[in-house]
Amino acid sequence: MKADPIFQPLEFRNLTVKNRIFRSNISGRFDNEDGSLTQTRINWECRFAAGGVGAVISSYVPVRMDGRIIAGYATIHRDAFIPLWQKLGEAVRANGAKYILQLSHSGRQMDIPGVHNMHRPSPAPTSNKETLHGFLCQAMSTGEVRQMVRDFARGAWRAREAGLDGVELHAANGYLFTQFLSSGINDRTDAYGGSQRNRARFLLEVIEAIRDKVGRDFHLQVKLSATDHNNIIPWEGKGNTVADTVQVAQWCEAVGADALHISTGSLFPHPLNPPGDLPLEVLAVTYDAMISSGVHGFRNFLAFRYPMLRPIFRWLWFRMAKGRPIEGVGFDEARLIRDHVGIPVISTGGWQSAASVREALAHVDGISIARSLVANPNLLQFWRDGHDLPPKPCTYCNKCLVGVPKLPIGCHELDRFPSREAMIEQLMEVYDTKPEFRIPAPAAPAEETAEVS
């Protein structure tokens, strides 16, 4: 009998993963305000490791406080957090998987700025505000860009110091790297804007800086959006094509990337990523947490809140997804890129059935999955047992996605549960922490002050 391609090890230059399935980037707001991670995150990541995936790729981890997309996600901007990440890495490995940390910066795509960022526009390559929510930003000076390059390298160094298995640069989905790469967004006139090479300069310099900082033998992969489809708001430019991204992928390989992780879209979320529905009726109760984040927040909220207005947003959103599959929505582009590079390529986008994953693995090297694993963390066991799909598969309803601003991360599709209580119970599992509470050391007694007469 021929070996199942899903369960074949994947050998990167600096890392071997036991099978071809990666837990794609996903997280909840369960870390501390200061960016330090919590037991909840450890529980969350380990759930997937225990489910059998070859590697867990962390969710978005900012290298600087001014690059948080959502306050409440852990950061790697301080050396002091290295031991915490180390603990997380150990926990995931103890559950049988590798842990790859995604280094990120929001640029202008900052959903919930938090106390650190609410008073200032985000640093970005452009001063043009984000198009969907109207998030404000301020174009970085050339010097600030160079500082940003160094901060990414520091972040990678901390990941290595923490003993993690590798890092991924989040150069997809509309965050800082995409804002540089995309011809629809980058309006710089310095060396980091204009030609495609210039727009890619920031990403390539970061890769080089990381290599300088951590050496050649540390796993470094880059997540790219194959196509920007930047024109959700119809009058925006379309951005990069897949041909542009093939070129960028080749440059990444040339400067030392070990692998590529291929997604799509120059915004997040995007009609094609994560593919599936967009439950506006859920946004009507969660988007209020983002109203004050951007200048279009209230407008959007009205479009979600009032059913009469929803068709407008629905039209904007779904016109792009029309005629495209959900499962493997980005596969063709990932395969095209794979054909033009010599390093492994991981494809993401709605994967769930064993048959399609097996078929895809004939052309790409790995498959990353988030929502289908949120629904069924033990998806791989179903596959190993010969099932194509689990009995209650992910419905692609995207309620987990749009719940992020207000609700705990997890599956919110009530139909998949016997009862609402069962759903809540599953959502609460990751919070099952047994912290060793510590009594803060009392402050030194203050000098008695003169009594006020």
Binding site: P113, M118, R120
Partner: protein, 498 residues
């Protein structure tokens, strides 16, 4: 201290930027709302003045003609400004309309319809005239006498010509209204721009398209006359003027007097005696004045009709020799009374074997055009289509074969004589047709001692009543023409007292 988020700061900056514009938009919106309320307030207003004095009601009260036939009051006021050549006197008196001190002439009623004041005819337009003893006297207005001075044809021509006249385009008309002292206010201006001007032109074009081809086939009616039934055919029954037969297309006849209607109940009314019901005759006349079955104001008409039942004509101002009158009365009783009743000391006596009955055309011999204009087909349409299914449906109309023998009350005010007004004086009527004036000027109100009004011979450049024109024949009614001269003089003396 609280601090602003970047987004709040940006939104505040935008508010500061947009505030002046928003204020302007808000003000504009407020103005638009106020304007809409003002417009609505105007548009919901409908009604017509009520005149407690019955004569005033007759002269100025509405019978419901304005609603579909009327023109806006302000256009009425502007027409003399727009057509100074047709209104040399500056107002409608140039066309023989009579003014009794008011803004509108007698016979023009006013009604506010959906916020626009409209004016149009009532009964008094055709049934109020003037008389004076001599040229220098002030004309006396007499309610109920024929409007022998009124040039309804001229008025109709002006209105129809206006339909295609560039001077009636909104801008010149607006200017003319301003000159006439009835300029449009701002709210009213809007109402006119979007509703009144377009409707006015459409209405006039429609009316002209139907009526003009008819007028083109007729000689001018002349003062004091109207074609009663042919306009009715083209306007009310949508019958194309071209489809009217040659013998029916000319139907102009004199306005009649409308004194003492009560005793006339049951007589054959109208010149050709086509109806014996006062109520039906009244309603039919109102249709002629422009009411429609939908807009007719039955109460207003009934009020007039009730009053007219007993309205006496003023006593004759002629003072003929009393003895001649006495002799004339004897001749009259023998020669005329059977058909026309007679005047006694108690007033007019509505008695006579043939009074109020039709004398066949073969016997009376007067012009047949008016008789022929009322056709059987038209009669059938009247009966079956107007007010059908209501208590007001016509039942009594009949096609006759001659002209009705009318009572002669108020005869001194009813010149020119015969149904078509083809004989200027009573003296002329007692002459054989060949000796009657072949052409004369109509419309005078100076009493002629020969009975009637002074009707000078035609002059170049002035409208002329030519008895040779179709419908204008002065032939027929030969009774009395063969009397000896002295008897004729006595008969005339008696008739002058009527």
């Amino acid at each position: 201290m609280t601090y602003q988020t970047a987004v709040e700061a940006e939104l505040a900056r935008r508010r500061r930027f947009w505030r002046p514009l928003l204020v302007l938009i808000g003000l504009a919106l407020l103005a638009a709302i106020l304007l809409a309320i003002a417009l609505l307030w105007r548009v919901v207003q409908s009604g017509t003045p009520y005149y407690s004095d019955i004569d005033a009601h007759f002269r100025h009260g509405s019978i419901g003609a304005e609603i579909t036939s009327g023109i806006p009051y302000k256009v009425w006021k502007a027409l003399p400004v727009l057509y100074p050549d047709r209104f040399p006197g500056g107002d409608y008196s140039s066309l023989g309309f009579l003014y009794d001190g008011g803004d509108l002439p007698i016979g023009i009623a006013r009604r506010r319809v959906r916020g626009v004041d409209l004016v149009w005819f009532n009964c008094a337009i055709c049934h109020t005239g003037t008389v004076r003893a001599a040229e220098d006297d002030k004309p006396i207005i007499v309610t109920g006498m024929p409007a022998h001075q009124l040039d309804l044809h001229g008025f109709t021509e002006i209105v129809l010509a206006a339909a295609g006249d560039p001077r009636l385009a909104p801008e010149p008309l607006r200017e003319a209204m301003k000159q006439a002292g009835v300029g449009l206010g701002p709210v009213e201006g809007l109402l006119w721009r979007f509703a009144v001007f377009p409707q006015l032109r459409e209405g006039l074009i429609d009316r002209a398209a139907r009526l003009q081809p008819l007028l083109d086939r007729q000689p001018a009616w002349g003062r004091g006359r109207v074609d009663t039934f042919n306009p009715y055919k083209v306007l009310e029954f949508d019958q194309p003027a071209a489809s009217l037969a040659e013998e029916e297309v000319v139907g102009a006849s004199d306005f009649p007097s409308i004194f003492l209607q009560g005793p006339r109940e049951g007589m054959q009314l109208h010149w050709d005696g086509n109806n014996t019901s006062l109520a039906e005759r009244n309603l039919s006349a109102a249709l002629g004045a422009g009411v429609t079955p939908e807009t007719v104001d039955h109460a207003a008409i009934k009020r007039v009709a009730d009053w007219l039942r007993d309205l006496p004509p003023p006593a004759s101002q002629h003072r003929p020799d009393a003895e001649a009158v006495g002799r004339g009365q004897e001749i009259y009783k023998e020669t005329c009374a059977a058909c026309h009743g007679w005047l006694g000391p108690e007033g007019y006596m509505f008695e006579g074997a043939y009074l109020g009955k039709v004398t066949p055309l073969a016997d009376i011999g007067t012009d047949p055009a008016r008789l022929n204009s009322y056709t059987q087909a038209f009669r059938d349409a009247q009966v079956s289509r107007l007010f059908a299914g209501t208590p007001h449906a016509f039942r009594e109309f009949q096609k006759t074969d001659g002209y009705a023998n009318a009572p002669l009350d108020g005869l001194w005010l009813r010149a020119p004589y015969l149904h078509n007004g083809s004989v200027p004086t009573l003296a002329d009527l007692l002459e054989p047709p060949a000796a009657r004036p072949a052409a004369f000027q109509r419309g005078g109100d100076v009493l002629d001692p020969r009975g009637g009004f002074v009707a000078p011979p035609c002059e170049t450049g002035k409208p002329c009543f030519d008895t040779a024109a179709p419908g204008n024949s002065n032939a027929g009614h030969l009774w009395g023409t063969d009397l000896p001269l002295a008897q004729k003089a006595d008969l005339l003396a008696y008739l002058l007292t009527f």
